[in-house]
């Protein structure tokens, strides 16, 4: 079954011309080909020549992902794979930017109008400085990163992210790119049917892909998305309005928010942690604990830690660190998130990893027929893919209902 997944249109996305759309499709198809046509060749190349070469030189077989990298980095097949992967990443941003550049002033005006018509809050504080870990490099090679502004009221990197990440994930996140949020919501509904959060916080929400499902699944709740990127927050607020949701967005750092203690019953994040830093991550766990009401849940959804996979898979995933401007990608996967949770205040033995099954089966729309979505949900985890088959690994921890008893 070929991947013909198409992003659902909404009023904050540009309308690409035929040629722009075709170039964007090419970038997505190229990524798909790399997965199915180039990636599988890495294993035999490693086993039949790279590992043997390493053993000849070092007198021992490669032991961990660092050894495997050393063995592979000079191999011509690996160079081809890595360079084409990098080029595919550059082409997806480049092709998306064609549409953003052409429509930017109109998109800014639409964002203003949509935000003005929404009852939900949009908070952009004066003089906010984004942390260095998002400005030192443009993460995943997205030109401008999350926080650059090229003009007043700019939303350009928000638009770029919305469309570009759909292409990056090859549509596996669904027509609204919201599978992670949707899957976590599904997980909560199935495992905690009585849980009725009054306020929900999505940390590092970017353009609100995963934030909006929370409003859909918990319509009575007050939902907030926060992010350090001003243009992303501005875009997220307008995008939510375009999709008919009243969700509040604020430019805020998840390490230190301005919400009061115990303000939220549910604090979540999706693919946030691997884009922070060694110092920020423990602070984010502490802030989540502080913000939770007694009995509240913290759920972080990101890709699995390295200790859950074999060294060769670790090596493939770690290529993002080296070739895709993801400085914390590898180091984050070595962090002990259970220990971080306990250090933040969660009781010993409370935090655990679990699987939130992918909600993609529920999607309908262009390219999302039953057979295609089943083949996504049923496939095995393949290193290098954005979305693992079956489900998302999530870290979950509950703040004690009776704080005094837990202390």
């Amino acid at each position: 079954m070929l991947n013909c997944f198409q992003q659902a249109h909404h009023d904050m996305l540009p309308r690409p011309t035929h040629d722009e759309a075709s170039r964007q499709e090419f970038a997505k198809s190229l990524k798909g080909f790399i997965q199915s046509g180039l990636l599988p060749g890495l294993a035999p190349v490693y086993q039949t020549r790279a590992a043997r070469g390493f053993e000849r030189e070092e007198g021992r077989p490669p032991a961990d992902r660092r050894d495997i990298r050393k063995a592979m980095v000079g191999d011509p097949y690996f160079k081809l794979y890595a360079s084409i992967n990098r080029i595919a990443q550059e082409l997806l941003w480049e092709s998306t930017n064609l549409s953003v550049e052409r429509e930017l002033p109109e998109l800014i005006e639409r964002a203003k109008a949509l935000s003005a018509a929404s009852k939900a809050q949009l908070v952009i504080p004066e003089g906010f400085v984004p942390p260095r870990y998002v400005t030192a490099l443009d993460i995943h090679c997205m030109p401008g990163g999350y926080a650059s502004e090229v003009c007043e009221d700019d939303v350009s990197v928000g638009v770029l992210y919305d469309r570009g990440v759909f292409l990056y994930s090859m549509g596996y996140g669904g027509p609204h790119n919201d599978d992670m949020g949707r899957s976590v919501c599904n997980y909560i509904k199935r495992n905690r049917p009585d849980f009725a959060p009054r306020r929900i916080l999505d940390m590092g929400c970017t353009v609100g892909h995963s934030t909006l499902p929370y409003k859909e699944y918990f319509p009575e709740a007050e939902v907030w998305g926060i992010d350090v990127g001003g243009p992303c927050i501005r875009y997220a607020h307008a995008r939510a309005a375009a999709l008919g949701h009243e969700v509040n967005f604020a430019q805020m750092n998840a390490e230190e928010t301005s919400f009061p203690d115990g303000h939220f019953d549910l604090v979540v994040s999706h693919i946030l942690l691997h884009e922070t830093s060694g110092k920020a991550m423990p602070r984010i766990f502490k802030e989540a604990y502080r913000l939770l009401s007694p009995g509240g849940l913290m759920i972080h959804a990101d890709l699995p830690p390295f200790d859950l996979m074999d060294p060769f898979t670790q090596f493939i995933l770690d290529n993002e660190t080296w070739y895709n401007n993801e400085p914390f990608w590898g180091a984050m996967r070595d962090m002990d998130q259970i220990a971080l949770s306990e250090a933040a205040g969660f009781p010993k033995g409370e935090a655990r990893f679990t699987t939130a099954p992918m909600a993609i089966m529920e999607f309908m729309g262009a390219g999302y027929d039953a057979e295609a979505t089943e083949s996504v949900a049923d496939r095995e985890f393949t290193a290098g893919e954005y979305a693992p088959g079956g489900g998302w690994e999530v870290l979950i921890a509950q703040k004690p209902v009776d704080l005094a008893a837990a202390a």
Binding site: S22, E25, A82, L91, V100, C141
Partner: protein, 120 residues
């Protein structure tokens, strides 16, 4: 629409040193150019496909017409002329190299010309 000169421009390149995948300088650039061109080939193929589909929606079976098209002598001549012209342009460096050999041009003769022009 705002005037073209007033319109803002998006950021086109990502901050962060790009890794060099191939030892020989220029190969990384060449690879990226090949892939951009491959993308344009695909885009043009999509556009031709779009033409056939649009024509079909208007009752013209362009695809079947293309398959059934018999090329007459003039068409064969025109296509062959195009292909030879295209190949000539594609291999312009080979043509240049052959001409250089014929004229016995070399790096030494080029440097000699620079030196000569500077004083004469």
């Amino acid at each position: 629409m705002t005037e073209a000169t007033d319109r803002p421009h998006v950021i086109k390149d990502a901050k962060g040193k790009r890794p060099q995948f191939y030892e020989q300088p220029g190969i990384d650039q060449l690879m990226s150019m090949v892939m951009v061109l491959a993308g344009e080939v695909c885009m043009l193929r999509d556009r031709m496909d779009a033409q056939e589909r649009v024509a079909k929606a208007h009752g013209i079976d362009l695809a079947a017409g293309i398959e059934a098209l018999a090329l007459d002598e003039a068409a064969l001549q025109a296509r062959e002329a195009y292909r030879q012209d295209f190949l000539d342009r594609l291999f312009y460096l080979a043509r240049k190299e052959a001409n250089e050999a014929k004229a016995e041009e070399s790096d030494e003769s080029y440097r000699a010309t620079i030196a000569d022009i500077a004083v004469n």
